[in-house]
Amino acid sequence: MSKPRVAIFDFACCEGCQLQIVNLEEEIIDLVGAVDVVEWREASTDHSDEYDIAIIEGSITRPEDEQRVKQIRSRAKVLVALGACATTGGVNKLKNNFDLDDVKRAVYGKDAGKPHLGTAMTKAVDEVVKVDFHVHGCPIDRGEFTYVVRSLLMGKTPEIPEWPVCVECKSKGNICVWELGQVCLGPVTRAGCGARCPTTRFRCFGCRGYIDNPNVDAAREVIERYGLDINALKEKMILFASKQEPTIYG
């Protein structure tokens, strides 16, 4: 059996998730040995329009990017969304809370009207095309990424956690950061990071996006129980969970 051809593409993002792949160090030899990397702008000059697995990093923010990602989808057998920008829209979705013209003026000043600076509402990749597998996080967890690749090579469906970050905190014996007086998004955020932030006694930012069925009523209840204002929760949710469903912006 020939090795599957893999192409890695980037859209609107900091490319930090690709960097995590580069940072696999010795393991990258195993990775590129197991697959045939035919396109990867960050690490290679090769280019190809023929591939089996497309890995998409970044969110979709312009009409021309929608066309590009649709074309990639039409060529790939399997499409993987890589990192928070691709899986949920990530921090790029902050933009969707404002008027687009204001956003452009804030970023580009007097050049805002120039034709090559067009922008649109930010979308996660699966708001544009079908995504087969999501590798969440800002940045991704390297171990989870390589597990997903190996699962694909085996023809297995990788198990991506559908449970929240609390599971990993409790498994590690962390003190709940709510007890430390912080508004933590762990109870509604998808696990898989190993509770990296709460383990350092810092609240979860929610970078892996919501779990499948987040209980927003429970979040309201807890905010009340801790004598906090609902805005304390909204402020925390805006960074990574802007315009995700369900929302409590209302």
Binding site: M154, W163, S171, K172, G173, C176, N213
Partner: protein
Amino acid sequence: MTTKTISKKAFKEFVNAIIAAEKVIGVQAKGERFDFAELTSADDLRLDYDVTLQAPKKYFLPPCETLMTFEVGGGYQSHIADEPFVLLGVHPYDVVAIAQMDELFSQNNADVHYLKRRANATIVAVDVVTASKNVFASSMKTATTRTGFDILLTDIGNAYVMEIATEKGRKLAAQATATVASADDLAKRESIWKANEKGLNKHPLEVNPEYLGKLLDKAYDHPVWEEKAATCFSCGSCNLVCPTCYCFNVQDDVNWDLKTGQRGRAWDGCLLDGFAKVAGGHDFRKKRADRFRHRLYRKAKYVPAKIDGQIACVGCGRCVGACLPDIANPVSVYNRLVDDLGIG
């Protein structure tokens, strides 16, 4: 069985002597709380703790472990822990929980991974000195215990009464400079037991725990399940901190050669969305209320049916503290059912 008294100074020397000889896990401060961790000096041991963040089950059933390594089309190699260790400072309610797990993991297909770790352990229990803010062990009759440990310590002020219950305990205690416990020391211990059997009760259960199974026979369609579960995060915290919850998930991963790999298991919890999801995507406890109810049936009905009626809630109160929306407290649910349904 021998009962001795050891001064606190001699006890410290005893602990340091064990540390020098073998691996010792002891209760220590962890930030604002307490937890079990490897002990490197008797100075770090905190036998006056209220409750540990995690239950001692993690030393027998770790949060995640490799069960075996395998080769596709070839053989496999089981991973069995072989390091002896001393578990120092287990409260009686946790001792009871471990004893229940011992029975459960020995049934049917005996779990060698658990049982080997258990056989490697010497358990030094300690009677509770400081009641935690949510403990209700008195209600569950687990505030003190006469069995399940190798050694039991009771703090009587300037010394510990040290009950040596097993051969393992005797071997360990051979390193201690202790005298035979006086009648006065035993009387002090007796009064501490009496006090704890009443006083570790921040959430008093209105019925004798033996009635809980009968109570649940009438409660399957009670509105409390929906009411409480309305604000359940399905985060599984109540399961994961519980000393008697033992469910796990098993998952395989392969190495880059796609031939060799590992089979691991990790803690799971019946409150988690997808816990009851099976092949084909069918989920037989899809609703939060179904999962919420299952845990409380499990504690007072399903598990007791496997272990001679012992209630699988030992009243440690960890779930009460771990539940952010404050719905996990078993006592508040059981008492509500008692009030609504009666015990007759």
